[in-house]
Symmetry: C2
Subunit: 414 residues, 2 copies
């Protein structure tokens, strides 16, 4: 593995942070072709360390059991959508409940290789919770600059894991360059490893999301379409790189189309995609409450990945997203957080517009677990806990059940 | 596989519920020895269906990705305890966040094999949440009689998955015979599959916990000691059966000692163990708030398993349990619910009393995820969310950090 500039191709030292010292380009880790081919021989099991041959570290990756999440076949929504093969890559079964555990495992290992005594990052919620847990395991003090509107469950996890949490007003309303300048200055003052997961700052962390692609292929072969929620876009871009690596190494023949899903009220990538631009605009304001994708910017790398794959970008409303979170649990038993449910919420329109065909193999990446952000469930539970307990008697229980609302019937998804 | 009475050894039909029709004894599924030997050849991967050869079903087990949870090596607490090899079997990484998903996968498959059109059970929290999700996946209406004091997160999951939830006053203050009579009558009236997980009612469901033992052996060999929280005792008894099966089949040579942990305020198994009795008393009242083990009864099967294994029973206070929940996250990055943390909380006394030796390989079974019951974390997060956001400026952030409490130093565990 070596670190090269993506523009001038000059090498940089192992683990170098920031932009290329020669030309200011974005750095990237590059691997030998035989390293990629070795992926075929990876043994099953949890922990992304088994993919170390194509991850930007030289030492074992600290593991809390991240990765190897299930690829579940849809039982009921696929039929309603008339999709032959719909699967969910359920990243909620990671240790802190989100795919960010893959990134945190890598980030903490990078920090140790750099000899850092602490770590700092900015987060809209899940990355902070993941970094806090992995730093705890590594006995590395952790500071998280947090989006103040993050769901309470994510804040609780981060605080309980012992991280220093600083809610910063308007954090993710700023462009990534401004956030990076802020986190960079604070990291320097604290002498902390700079783990803001944005390639011009830290070109390595996002690579952890490649392992989602590796696992999808190992579990079910190459899909025709992979649907991914897009905030900043690193997750989509990294998965595209993962599929490309498998292709270059001759491990897979075809490549999937990548479809990026945004919230209607926070869709800069959609704007750029539809306008044919290579530049992704920064939105003046964000009108979405979906944690993880309610940010005003996306990266050009995600746009390039969508286009190179022959994919698409679409957006769905917050209401559609939260309704699909509820349906995934009630009709599939799959408890995902809203941002991941957005991928499934987008399917009806994608099918109707011919962006996805009924016979295609579709994988929706559910990025986190339902407990992370459970607005609908909390509202329903409120109604139950408000109801008085029923006496310990069969007759009283039968009577209570007769007064209960029936579970919802299957509804059309059109 | 056949179903036999554990007392008169008369056969019963496949899937028969209740006690032996001949003598009133408890029924049990029995497997051929070559079925056990085939466990050696199971392929890795999630879903307990790969262990079907020794599970009491004849059709594929419905899977939401349960099982294959990580066996994590302790990084910091082991050193503090001076234990050479401490591992955590982290059952929180199951789809609904607890090992009960193994039971729910089996229960729903049993209900389908029985041709049932719905399912009913009683739960103190996690089993209800798991059954609700698996019934949703199977399109099987689900009714849960719930302990009213269950943690809110567990109630939210169960309701959101579409189960009919009836909070029954004093449900788990009753002896299991009385609960079984209640659930039996309601199940009969509803024509529902009777999934109250107690062997005299349903001799099959508890067997799912055997798969925890299979996985521990596959992941790390035979431990010297397995520490398990004990409420009703099914979980401990079933794991003991799992180790015994592996032993009879010649797959493992030694057997672990099983140590059962209870809450000090709900310790009927400890009373029986210390008194040398074979009868486990029913407590008049329970003085513990630890969901999952704050019940007044335990089964004699758990007592027999502890004694047969040469193991032990111990109890810890609610305060020790909740403190260990917090420490597991802050010092290991492992986010477990209190009932599982009880196993780790018991280790200092077990070591001091010589029940466990420093050189032994110890596995603590962490039965559920932290989000299930996060009293301490919620309290800490309250403090953070009450703090005003800091302006988007490095100086303001540094100032806020200088006023923050430091993370706790490592403390002795004595």
């Amino acid at each position: 593995m070596k670190t090269l500039c993506t523009e001038c191709e000059e090498p940089a030292p192992h683990g170098a942070l920031g932009r290329c010292p020669s030309c200011g380009g974005i750095l990237q880790a590059v691997y030998r072709d035989d390293a990629l081919a070795r992926l075929e021989a990876v043994t099953p099991g949890r922990g992304i360390d088994r993919y170390r041959a194509t991850l930007p570290v030289k030492t074992p990756i600290l593991s809390l059991g991240e990765g190897d999440t299930p690829l579940l076949r849809s039982r009921r929504l696929a039929d309603l959508l008339r999709l032959d093969d719909l699967r969910f890559k359920h990243e909620g079964l990671n240790p802190s409940g989100a795919f960010k555990d893959r990134l945190a495992a890598l980030a903490v290992t990078l920090a140790r290789e750099a000899g850092s005594r602490s770590l700092l990052s900015a987060s809209s919620g899940n990355l902070g919770a993941a970094l806090a847990a992995y730093c705890a395991a590594a006995a590395l003090p952790c500071t998280i600059l947090l989006e103040p509107g993050a769901p309470a469950a994510k804040i609780r996890q981060t605080v309980a894991a012992g991280a220093y949490v600083v809610p910063v007003a308007g954090l993710f309303a700023q462009p990534p360059e401004a956030i990076a300048a802020l986190t960079g200055e604070v990291a320097a003052r604290l002498d902390a490893y700079h783990a803001f997961a944005w390639a011009p700052v830290n070109p390595y962390i996002l690579e952890a999301s490649k392992t989602i692609a590796y696992e999808v292929v190992a579990q079910g072969g190459v899909p025709d379409v992979v649907v991914v929620p897009v905030g900043g876009g690193d997750t989509l871009a990294a998965q595209w790189r993962g599929y490309q690596e498998l292709h270059v190494a001759g491990i897979i023949e075809g490549l999937p189309r990548l479809v990026g899903i945004q919230a209607l009220g926070a869709a800069p990538l959609l704007q750029a995609f539809e306008s044919g631009s290579e530049h992704v605009p920064m939105l003046a304001d964000v009108r979405s409450s979906i944690s993880g994708i309610n940010i005003p910017f996306s990266g050009a790398h995600a746009l390039a990945a969508v286009r190179a794959s022959g994919g698409h970008v679409a957006a769905v409303s917050d209401g559609e997203i939260r309704a699909m979170q509820a349906r995934l649990l009630r009709e599939e038993g799959v408890w995902a957080e809203p941002v991941g449910a957005a991928t499934v919420a987008a399917l009806p329109a994608l099918l109707q517009e011919g962006r996805v065909a009924s016979h295609e193999r579709v994988v929706c990446v559910l990025t986190g677990a339902g407990f992370k952000d459970e607005v609908l469930a909390a509202a329903r539970a409120h109604a139950v806990s408000a109801r008085r307990s029923v006496p310990f008697s069969p007759a009283a229980i039968i009577e209570a059940l007769q007064g209960a609302d029936p579970p919802p019937a299957d509804a059309s998804l059109d």
